[in-house]
């Protein structure tokens, strides 16, 4: 404390009086030209390092396989082979993969989000004796690694004839996702209860309160969950990889692996890059349109699905 009284210069003390001014002085340190140049340098260098591999992906998809082994390999192929994409399209059942991934992702966005919201509403707005125990159970399932349950699930799905179909990926969605239930329940609880009470006095049922008050007021949270669901379902690999075997029945993520391991004796890196670009493009598009929802979701909840 004594340092605070004796140490600082007059200007610092004056700044401390007006806190808004102080924020400016603290910030100003970062905005000095030299400091700002360093910040920009690091930002540009770093983000180039993180962004450049995507350019490399495109570049690599337009080469011939021999060019991968040239020394040095071309920075960018002088004659980009756009026909590689036609080869990718004609070699694997790419359209079927896109359709399968779209089905799973669409249901993930619509069904998974809706059911999660329904269950979350129950935890946020109803009370019954075992409710909190149940909620703890929901949260604890988030900690359960998927690999522990995968083997019995394969056996169960085999016995009901679901292996090599999309059913093991889609049917469990009717129960919602623990992670989404958690996010939405936290959000619903921030909505003032007076709104529910007023509607209930007017004779609205609980479901009506949910559809006309809670859901409309929760659009940002629901959007965040829907975007999460889009990206995680589109990227999902481990379970589909294990359930799906027939090429035509695979999702796109599994199809990418199929290009690597199921089609050729020799690696066809250029075609593998082509199918990889087809696989990441919808994610990139979704992310650019919805990055606000996505980043807010992570920041609010502290984890990714």
């Amino acid at each position: 404390m004594s340092r605070a009284l004796t140490g600082p210069t007059k200007t610092a003390r004056a700044a401390a009086v007006e806190s808004s001014a102080t924020i400016r002085t603290v910030r100003a340190r970062l905005l000095r030209p030299a400091g700002r140049a360093v910040v920009y340098l690091l930002l540009i260098g770093g983000s180039a390092a993180y962004g450049f591999p995507f350019a490399w992906m495109i570049r690599s998809s337009l080469m011939s396989i021999d060019q991968f082994y040239d020394d040095p390999p071309p920075l960018f192929p002088t004659e980009p082979r756009w026909e590689n994409y036609a080869e990718v399209w004609n070699t694997g059942p790419v359209l079927a993969w896109i359709i399968n991934s779209s089905i799973v992702t669409f249901l993930g966005v619509v069904v998974l989000t809706f059911v999660s919201a329904l269950v979350a509403f129950g935890f946020a707005r109803t009370y019954y004796p075992l409710r909190d125990v149940l909620f703890i159970l929901v949260i604890s399932t988030m900690m359960l690694p998927g690999h522990v349950t995968i083997i019995p699930k394969v056996i169960i799905f085999r016995d009901v004839g679901w292996l090599d179909t999309l059913l093991p990926l889609t049917v469990p969605m009717i129960g919602g996702s623990a992670f989404f239930i958690f996010i939405l329940r936290q959000f619903f609880r921030t909505i003032p209860r007076e709104l529910d009470d007023a509607a209930e006095i007017d004779g609205a049922s609980r479901l009506r309160v949910m559809f006309t008050i809670i859901f409309p007021l929760s659009k940002p949270a629901l959007a965040t969950v829907a975007v999460f669901s889009f990206i995680t379902n589109w990227n999902d690999f481990f379970e589909p990889f294990i359930y799906l075997n027939t090429p035509e029945r695979m999702t796109l993520a599994v199809g990418v692996r199929f290009f690597q391991a199921g089609l050729y004796d020799q690696p066809q890196l250029h075609l593998q890059m082509g199918i990889s670009i087809i696989a990441v493009t919808p994610i990139l598009v979704a992310f650019f349109f919805a990055q606000k929802q996505f980043i807010r979701g992570i920041a609010l909840t502290g984890m990714k699905g």
């Binding site: 993180y50 040239d70 129960g175 890196l269």
Partner: protein, 295 residues
Amino acid sequence: MRRTEWQRWSGILFAVPWLLQFVFFIIIPFGGSFYLSLTDYRFRGAPRFIGLENYLDLFTDDSVFIRSIVNTIYYTVVHVPGVMIISFFIAILLNQNVRGMALFRTLFYLPSVTAGVATAMLWLVILQPNGLLNQGLGLVGIPGPRWLTSTAFAMPGLIIMSFWTVGTTMILYLAGLQGIPQHLYEAAAIDGAGHVRRMWHVTVPMMTPTIFLTLVLNIIGSFQVFIAALIVTSGGPANSTLFVLLYLYRKAFLTFQMGYASAIAWILFVIILIFTLMQFVIARRWVYYEYEEAE
């Protein structure tokens, strides 16, 4: 049921969809997997109960399994601190007040959104002997190793690859940094603290809850690394990147030793559980929760 009883319990109806999923897709498979781990089940015929034999075999008679545990620990010990340090620096950089920040945040975050099979495939290309990484190293005069075919460099290759997808940790740090009240920095500045001391005495203590969260999440994640090894190295060369989960996959779905693989699943599960609980105990010594007493 009387009307009051109905009112008391009707809320549970909202949980019914989740409960169905819990019973059929979580608790039955969870119990089933423990039971299978005590059998010699091979996907055909009936499981035969063999007690703890699978577990004994794994620890006393399966050097590949031990290798996979060692590999997983090696990966974790380098990957987790690396990701945390890199993310922390990027987050501090992204927390500066300069123009165009939205674009920079997007670029740093993009690899994490797309993380999966496709980007693993990309790294298979990047880590080729004359791939992007070695071209880059060549520019600064370092001859790059053969990342994918050398037992010494395959694991470092995968770890470098993992440093590309640090987005989730980075965003958590960024949110944490933005939650630190500005008046603490003002007070420290008035007390004469420079950049370094403000970082060490304000930023780091205030960030400990976030650091703890990311530590737990990253360790859990790194014990379950799978796609990178499957796509990029296939666990090789000479099992040098064979992780526990990849070994589990091979035993369960390539050789169909499902009882044996279930034992692997349970060992991995218990390791993750112990690690996580241990961290929560140790956390009391170093994590600072500002509002702990007020709550």
